[in-house]
Symmetry: D2
Subunit: 297 residues, 4 copies
Amino acid sequence: MQLGLVGLGKMGFNMRERLRAHGHEVLGYDPRPEVTDVASLADLAAGLTAPRVVWVMVPSGQITRDTIAELAQVLDAGDLVIDGGNSRFTEDRPHADLLGAAGIGFLDCGVSGGVWGLESGYGLMVGGGESDVARALPIFDSLRPEGERADGYVHAGPVGAGHFAKMVHNGIEYGLMQAYAEGYELLEAEDLVTDVHGVLRAWTKGTVVRSWLLELLVKALAEDPEFAEISGYTQDSGEGRWTVEEAINHAVPAPVISAALFARFASRQSDSPAMKAVSALRNQFGGHAVQRVSESG
Amino acid sequence: MQLGLVGLGKMGFNMRERLRAHGHEVLGYDPRPEVTDVASLADLAAGLTAPRVVWVMVPSGQITRDTIAELAQVLDAGDLVIDGGNSRFTEDRPHADLLGAAGIGFLDCGVSGGVWGLESGYGLMVGGGESDVARALPIFDSLRPEGERADGYVHAGPVGAGHFAKMVHNGIEYGLMQAYAEGYELLEAEDLVTDVHGVLRAWTKGTVVRSWLLELLVKALAEDPEFAEISGYTQDSGEGRWTVEEAINHAVPAPVISAALFARFASRQSDSPAMKAVSALRNQFGGHAVQRVSESG
Amino acid sequence: MQLGLVGLGKMGFNMRERLRAHGHEVLGYDPRPEVTDVASLADLAAGLTAPRVVWVMVPSGQITRDTIAELAQVLDAGDLVIDGGNSRFTEDRPHADLLGAAGIGFLDCGVSGGVWGLESGYGLMVGGGESDVARALPIFDSLRPEGERADGYVHAGPVGAGHFAKMVHNGIEYGLMQAYAEGYELLEAEDLVTDVHGVLRAWTKGTVVRSWLLELLVKALAEDPEFAEISGYTQDSGEGRWTVEEAINHAVPAPVISAALFARFASRQSDSPAMKAVSALRNQFGGHAVQRVSESG
Amino acid sequence: MQLGLVGLGKMGFNMRERLRAHGHEVLGYDPRPEVTDVASLADLAAGLTAPRVVWVMVPSGQITRDTIAELAQVLDAGDLVIDGGNSRFTEDRPHADLLGAAGIGFLDCGVSGGVWGLESGYGLMVGGGESDVARALPIFDSLRPEGERADGYVHAGPVGAGHFAKMVHNGIEYGLMQAYAEGYELLEAEDLVTDVHGVLRAWTKGTVVRSWLLELLVKALAEDPEFAEISGYTQDSGEGRWTVEEAINHAVPAPVISAALFARFASRQSDSPAMKAVSALRNQFGGHAVQRVSESG
C-alpha cells in the first residue's frame, strides 16, 4: 500500500527501506535534503492519494507535537496518522483529539528493535480503534518480524496503549541491562574467572539467562574487550523515567527498574553531592578522614 | 565414553537420558530404587572401568559434601569427579583438596537449563585444570546445546570458576525475572492496556527485551491467565544470596540483583515487622490511623 | 496579631491553640460547627480587620484549590494568604497568580511536627516574597519551636520553595523510618538479641542514630510490644511520591527514598502480581514447585 | 574501679579521659609510647590487681584476635575481658571460648558516639553473662551518657548480642545518612530553594526528621559550604556489609541499608564497569552514541 513517512533518521530511514522491500510505496519526508523524497509536509500530502496514511517517526516531545499539528493542517478528513516515535503515552489522547477534530484518525505505535529492525523486523505495540488498525495492518505486517503475527505485533488497546506498552518495554529493558551489567562487573572482579568473555558467550545458548541483549553484550565485548574505549557515562531517553513515574501513579513497586534508572543518573555525575554529604557526616561523628578534592585523581 | 552419575532427580535423570541418547554408557546411582542402576556408590565404582569419571548431581550443601567424601573412599587415584550441582564456589577448593589427597581429580561445573536441558542442551560453565577438562570434554559436548561449543560451554578458570560463573548467572536471572515481573504488574495496573498477554507475546520477536525467560512468561500466562492459581510466595535457592554476598566482598554495587532477592524475602512474609514499625511511627508523629490486625483481611 | 485560620483538623486545631496561647487573635473557620468560630469564609473575611492574613490548613489538592479560589473572592487587595498544608509545590505558583490578580499576597509554608507541634512548636519552611514573609513573621515566630529562629524556621526562597523543602523533608522521613524499620526487623530476627526494646532505647542517647523518630519508635513499642496489634499495611500521603518524581526530574539518584516508598506500596498488596510472575517463571524453567493460592495461609 | 584499657586511639584515648574524670583508675596500653601507660600487655597485667578487668579497644579483625589471644596468656582465671571495638559478632563466641578455657570471662560491647563520646557519653550495647555484666557496670555507667541508664546502655543478650546490636546500629546509620544525603542533593538541584543550608538548619528543631546526624550535617555545611573541599569518595568500615549479610542470612528485606552500602561502593569507582556495559548495550541495539573515554572529563 501507499504510506507517507515523516522522519528519516536512524529508525525512519531503515523502515522506508524495509517497507519498500516489501513492495509498499513509501513517500518520505525529512528536513535533510539528502534523504527526503519531498520538500515539505504539504508536498507529502499532495503526493499521496487520499485517504492517506502517514507515519510519524520523529523525536518525541515538541518535534512530534509540531509535526502532528502541521499534519492536522495539510491532511484531510478520512486520513490516518500513526505516531511511531517514543512519545509519552499521555501525549496520544491530545494528538488523537486534535486530529479527530479534523476528521483524521490516529494510532500510536511503539516500535522496538533499533538498528536491527531493518533486517529482523520490529516489535510493534499499537493503540487505537479497530478500523484504523485494520487499515494500517499491511504496514504493520511488513514492519514486524516474519512468522506469526502475534509474536511481534499486538493491538494493545485504545489510543495510548501502544506507547504505554512501549514505555514499559523500555523500563524492563533498563532492568535487564542493569542485571547483566552487575553480573558482568562481578565476574570481572573475581580472579578465579579467567575468561569472562567466554562465560558470557557460553550463556547465549541453553541457559536461563539467554537473550538477545546477552548476545549484544558478547558482540560488544568482542569489539572492545574490557570496554577500554567506552565510558560508563550513560544517557537515558525518557521512557525509564516515565515507567517509574507510572509505577508510582499506580502504586506498583518498581525497585529494579528504578535502581537501573538511578544507576544511569549516577553514571553521569563527576562527583555526587549526596556522597559528599555522607563523607562529611562520617568525618563529623567519627573523625574519619575524608578524601579532599585535591586528592581525587 | 563411560560415566558414573550420582543423583537422578529432575536434573540428573534427564542428563542420563541425554547422554545415553548421545551414545555414552551411563551408570547412575540414586537412593531411590526405581531410578537407580546400582545399589550403592561402591557398586557404582565397581561397575566402572578405571580410570573412572563420576558426575555428582545432588543437592548442594551437606548432601554434596557427604557424596564427595564417600567418593573419595570408593574411587581410586586417577579417577575424576565432577560436581555439577549448585554448590557454592567456596566449597570447590576443599572438595578438590580432599579428592586430590587420594589422587582423584576434580572439576566444578555450573549447569543451566532446568527441565528444558534434556531437549535443548544445558549451558555449562566449568572450573578446573586443563587435562581434567579435556578428559571430560565428550560428556560436556553431549550435554551442551548443539552448535558451536563456545555458545553453550566455557572453561571459565581453575577450580571454583565454574560454580562462581553459575552463581552470577543465577544472580542475573533473579534480576531479569524481577524486571519482567515489575513490567508485567505495571501493564496489568493500567486500564488502557486491554491485552497484557498479547503485549508480552508481541515482545518475543524483534524487540530489545526478547529472551527465553520472556517466552516462558508468555507460556505460563497461557497456562494460567492472570496467575489466578499461583501465589506470589517465592522461594530462593541460595545463589541469589551468594551473588549479593560476593558483590559485597568485591565492593561491586548490585542494586538490581539485591532488590530482586529482597522482593523474594518480602514475598514470603505474611506481614512485615519493618512495615509494622513504619506504620507505628506514622501513627506516633502524625496521628495517622493504623490498620489494626483485626481489620486486615 | 490577628489571623484567620481555615481548617481546624488535627493540625489546624492545635495551631489555633498555640497561637492563642502566644497572645494572637485567631479567628478559625472549619465546616464542622463544633470547632469553627465563624459560619463561612465570607464571615471569616468580615470578622478580620484589613489588611488581613489568612492561613489555610486544609487537605492538599482539590480542597486547598477550592479554598484558595474562594478566598480570592472574599478577600481584598492587600490581604495575604498562607498555604500551610501539604500542597505539592507545583500548585503554589498558580495559587500565587490567582490571588495576585486580585492584589492578594501569597506564601507557601511547609509545616512539620505533627500532633506534637502544639507543645514543641512546628518546623516551618516558607516560600514567597520578603515583605509578605516579614508581615507574617509574628505568626511564624509563635508557631516555630522556642530558641533561635533559624533552628526551626527558614525563608527557603520564592513562592514554591517552602512546599518543595517540606516535600524533601517528608521524602527523607520515609528513608529514615525505613532504615530504622529494617534494623528493627533484623534485631527481632536474631535470637542472640534478647532485649530488642532495650537496644532501641539504649540508642536514644549518645549514639550516632539518636533522633526524635527513634524516641517515637521506643514509645510505640512500649505501648504495643512486638506490634502485635498493628498491621504492616502502610499508607503514603503523596510527598514521598513527589520527592521521587522530582528526583527523576532533576536526575538525582534516590535509591533509598524510592526503596522506602516502594516498601509502602508492597505493604498494601495482599499478593504481588510481580511475585506471582517470578514464581511462575521459576516453575517454568526449573520445575520448582509454586505455592498454590489454596495453600497460602 | 580499676580498669586495664588496651588501645588508645581516637576512641580509647577519649575513653581513658572520661573514665579518669569519673574517678576510675585506668591503666592504658598502646604500642605508641607517647600515649601508653605501660610497655606491654604483660606489664598491664602486672600493674592491675586481680581479679582484673581489661577493656580492648583496638581495630577489629586480626589485631583484636591477636590482642585477645595474648590477653589469654597474660591474664589469670577470674579476670574479665571486654571487647569494645567494632568486631563482627561472629568473632565473639570464639573469643569467649578461648578466654573461658583459661577461666577468664568475656563481654562484647558495642560503643557508639565517636569523637563526641568524651563529652556526651557513649551509647553502649553489651553482650555476655549477668555476673560479668554486673562486675563491669561501674565502667559502663561512667562511659554512657548521664541520665537514666536504659537511655544509653543495654545488656542486649548473651555473648555476641552487643556486637550484633552495634552492627545493626551502624547499618541503620548508613541508611539514615543516605536518606539525608539524597534529600540534600535534591534541595541543591532545585533552583527555587535559595537557602539550602537554612532549610537543613530549620529542620533541626520541631520537625519529624530532627536528629543528631542532621545537626552534624548543618555543622559540616557551616564549615565547608557546598562541600567544595570534600570528595564524594566514601569508605565503609565493615558493619554495613555485615548488616546486609545478616539480613540475607535471616531473609530480612533490607533495600534501604543495602542501597546505602552500594552507593558507597559506587562512590569509590572512577568509572563503573557495569555502566560501561550498559552504555555499550545501548550503542549496540540503538546506535546511541557512547561517550568515549577520551571525552570524559
